[in-house]
Amino acid sequence: MTALLEFKHVSKQYGSETRALTDVSFSVRSGEFVSIIGPSGAGKSTLLRCINRMIDASSGEICIEGRNVLEFRKNELKRLRTSIGMIFQHYNLVDRLSVMENVLHGRLGYKSTIAGMLGLYREEEKQQAYQILGILGLEEQVYKRCDQLSGGQKQRVGIARALIQGPKMLLCDEPIASLDPNASKVIMDHLRHISTNLGITVIVNLHQVETALKYSDRIIGVNQGKIVYNGTPGKMTSEELERVYGSERREQRADQGETQAG
């Protein structure tokens, strides 16, 4: 299998002092489900946003299908972003618009400026949106305004908006950090399903180690901008976890007891 995404010695520097990423290298195969775990402020979000250039890396190479995205110009960048879906912790929907309109926002990258501004979508696009909403169990909410939905429903709208882009890759920035355990499970099941059945690569930033271990094909542990673990969940030992989380993890474990799924 070929690598869809490849990080080669990527670093990101904010100003002259703060280093968010230091010499990060890894690769992700097509269709893989990868979780990035690590303490707050470790650089997980920066890492994720470097992929679709919402943040520009300072040095190194980020290759998608063999092409370095750091060299992309305006139009290539737009095409790149169109082919990568993104899901956020706070859903980032337009609350005042309906579910349908929010999902169709995922098509804006394919439309002309005028058609996009006025929200003129083709019939097929609307049908596709409806189908995706059906798969995610939101048929009944199609014309509701987004501020009337629960958190879990909003996140599913977020997933629908990403899916209608027809992406090769889904970047999820803490998708379940604001959700209750039940809604979290629904969202993670959907993401797993997307990866397994649709063959879309899914890269998830996670706070919950147990969830990461349960759902992922591979775990990447980040601490202080460096990759400290890169391997399957099965090989993740408690020593490795301690290296990822440092002392913070030790305190957490003292609270929770030794719960470690494998």
């Binding site: 919402m54 879906g85 980032n92 804006l108 400026t113 996009g116 305004r145 908006r161 882009q165």
Partner: protein
Amino acid sequence: MSAEAVDKMIAAELHLRPDRRLPGIPPKKPFNKTALTIRLTLIGLGLLTVLAFVSFDYKGIQVFQGIYATLLNLKTMFLQPRLHHFTFAAALFEVLITLGLAFLATLFGAVIALLLGLFSARNLSSPLTSAAIKGMVAFIRAVPTVMWVLIFAVAAGLGSVAAVIGMTFHSIGYLIKAYSEAFEEMDKGTIEALKSSGANWWQIVFQAVIPSSLSYLMSWTLLRFEINFSVAVAMGAAAGAGGIGYDMFMASGFYFDLQEIGAITYFILGFAILLEIAANRTKRKLKPGK
């Protein structure tokens, strides 16, 4: 005893005997430079007031008689309002003209301000463009509307054209600030989400920014409409823009007709209240479910 209980006791004690000083409670505010400045300023102002009243040249005016005469005038104005020089229908028509002036100024102002407001919102524009527009707008707003009308009267001549242009100008200044602040309130995550899906700037603005801030935009625009209505009344008098303001000016300065002034004031008041009600209705309609 807990700290809370102590606090409660002290509070109770103070409530019963406010003059008593408890240990641990500062007896009075510390006397510092700020307090001194404030006190000196107040004393200075007080002295100046006394001095002014003492040194007034009253020219034999009886203060109480003057007040009585004013009250009498007000009574004629507001308790016996009557139209003499035109009919009720004509007055209505004149109010509509004033309303039209206000409407035009608000409409032009809103359209131009919407565009410039986008460019001056910090989250949607470059820092340089934003700062440039905001600086210019601060200058426009600093000059009163009447001044703008008179400035444009140089080119357009006194009348409704100058009035509308001048009012539009000030409305633009006012609304750009209001709009851009509404846009800046916008959740930046939503903008990021659309950007990350490949949408361009115009698409983001029309699909996310404007829908999200629509109720703010509407309420600012309606507020400006109300302001423009009252400015248009004044412009009718000051700049010869026509409308009810001009009739008011004629009734007071030319005919000296107190009863008519009263009637016109009631007209304007009535319309202002109607506007307010209509504005509130519209705003409420825009915010369903909240």
